[in-house]
Subunit: 284 residues, 2 copies
């Protein structure tokens, strides 16, 4: 899966060609970001099943950035790819319903419903507990979408809280149990649920145990490449089904031209094809 | 503090007057939301020190919603109020830096820096640990802003994870210790730090212990009013300093006209004045 975390200071050169900041810095920068994302999707799409859009990287450009997010989601759909909105949202139930409307639903109002982003899946933060996740899971199930809850993230600091000892097991196992419970009512014919789990590829030693605890969850596996995780150790994620693991890489694909010849598009495509081949070797 | 969680299906009638959906549903709905927020800020501002903007409620209207968010933040500043961006963001360090740019910083790019929301404070989710919070705290300190980390939220489900037993203490006490450590280097002359804590007013029995663990943190206290929390039990929050507690109410102010006479503006103002009086009685 292609992760897009566009950095306006490191866009592909073609995204900037001919752009002028006439309409203001934010609009021009957001337009360049949208062009960069579309180019990356065109180059890499045939080697991917999905695009993961990092909401923070669009939000920081304000309203124009949100328009670039919508445009990038549209470019991904046009390329036949699934759209995963990576915002790690989590809030009290009333607010969780608003996030669900933003990501996979629509918002009623005096002028009729306003459609949200229309993502195929999104990430969620479970710190606020079951009642904060239920509106997200319910909306995902209704929309035919997926909700990936954080279970064990890929950053070094994840250990501070997610590995805290809760009665003899790490907290991330408690989160895994919550994911399994929430997903139990939403298991399809494939044996996979619409409630998935974010499990960092940087600590693959957890995956076997997490797979035991969440036999029906699709694992979203970030941290391959720039964050240091390897693909080979991810086999337990794919154990129940070839589609039970989604390996995502961002900087190692989009910035591949820094260490490969042929320009950004060719380098990104080659890096993505190598990642796909490595993931498929595990899934089969 | 006035919490704004605008629901497009329940705006003040004056916000809709004369608006037509000529520019599309999203634009008209977002314009009505911005007018609703401005009216509430005008009505209630004199009884408040800050406005808490619930990001989910703007995001669900897309780019137009983000423009309404920016306009509402501007209206709050024009009324002399602090702006608190309530998004409960939390992500790996590289992404946390992007959220910091969105909320209290600016984003460098080919056309020059793009300013973010310019909030005076924001909420953050600590599930990803210390390294995920450091970029947020660093950016807040640099901008003269505040970062409120979730410690014990106001929803019933908070108990599922935040009260999990971690070696004889609930997880929220581990989060409180993290807040205290992160804030230690940022304590001002008032004795208060730029790193604060979100502590739900619905479970005031935790406040005394949390105040022991976080003597320098400003407590953001949601859950008063519609969520069922009372003001009287919040005294421990204010113990170290009259400004060490920020009581926030949303629906109980903005929807006060449902149970009071005089129309939305007058009812909201009266409800806010009563809340202010109750909070000040504790703070003194």
């Amino acid at each position: 899966m292609l992760g897009l975390d566009p950095d306006p200071a490191a866009l592909w050169p073609e995204a900037l060609e001919g752009l002028e900041p006439d309409g203001g810095r934010a609009a021009a920068t957001a337009a360049a970001v949208a062009r960069h994302c579309r180019a990356a999707i065109e180059a890499v799409g045939p080697a991917c099943v999905a695009v993961k859009l990092q909401l923070a990287c669009f939000e920081r450009l304000g309203a124009a950035g949100w328009a670039a997010l919508t445009a990038s989601a549209g470019a991904a759909r046009a390329a036949g790819l699934l759209v995963i909105a990576d915002g790690k949202r989590g809030d009290v139930p009333a607010t969780a319903r608003a996030y669900a409307q933003a990501l996979v639903g629509a918002t009623p109002g005096a002028f009729g419903p306003v459609e949200g982003l229309g993502a195929d899946a999104f990430t969620a933060n479970p710190l606020l507990g079951r009642d904060s996740l239920e509106p997200l899971v319910g909306a995902a199930a209704e929309a035919g979408a997926g909700c990936f809850c954080l279970v064990r993230t890929s950053n070094p600091g994840a250990a501070d809280v997610q590995d805290a000892d809760v009665g003899g097991r790490p907290l991330h196992e408690l989160l895994a149990a919550l994911v399994d419970e929430l997903g139990a009512g939403h298991v399809g014919r494939s044996g996979l649920s619409c409630v998935g789990a974010v499990c960092g590829a940087t600590r693959p030693e957890h995956l076997e145990r997490l797979r035991q605890l969440m036999p029906h969850a699709i694992f979203l596996l970030p941290g391959v490449g720039a964050q240091g995780g390897g693909v080979e150790a991810l086999a337990p994620a794919f154990a129940p089904h070839p589609a039970a693991g989604l390996v995502t890489a961002s900087r190692s694909i989009v910035n591949a031209h820094e260490s490969r010849p042929g320009g950004p598009r060719r380098a990104a495509r080659e890096a993505a094809e190598e990642l796909r081949a490595a993931a498929w070797a595990l899934a089969r």
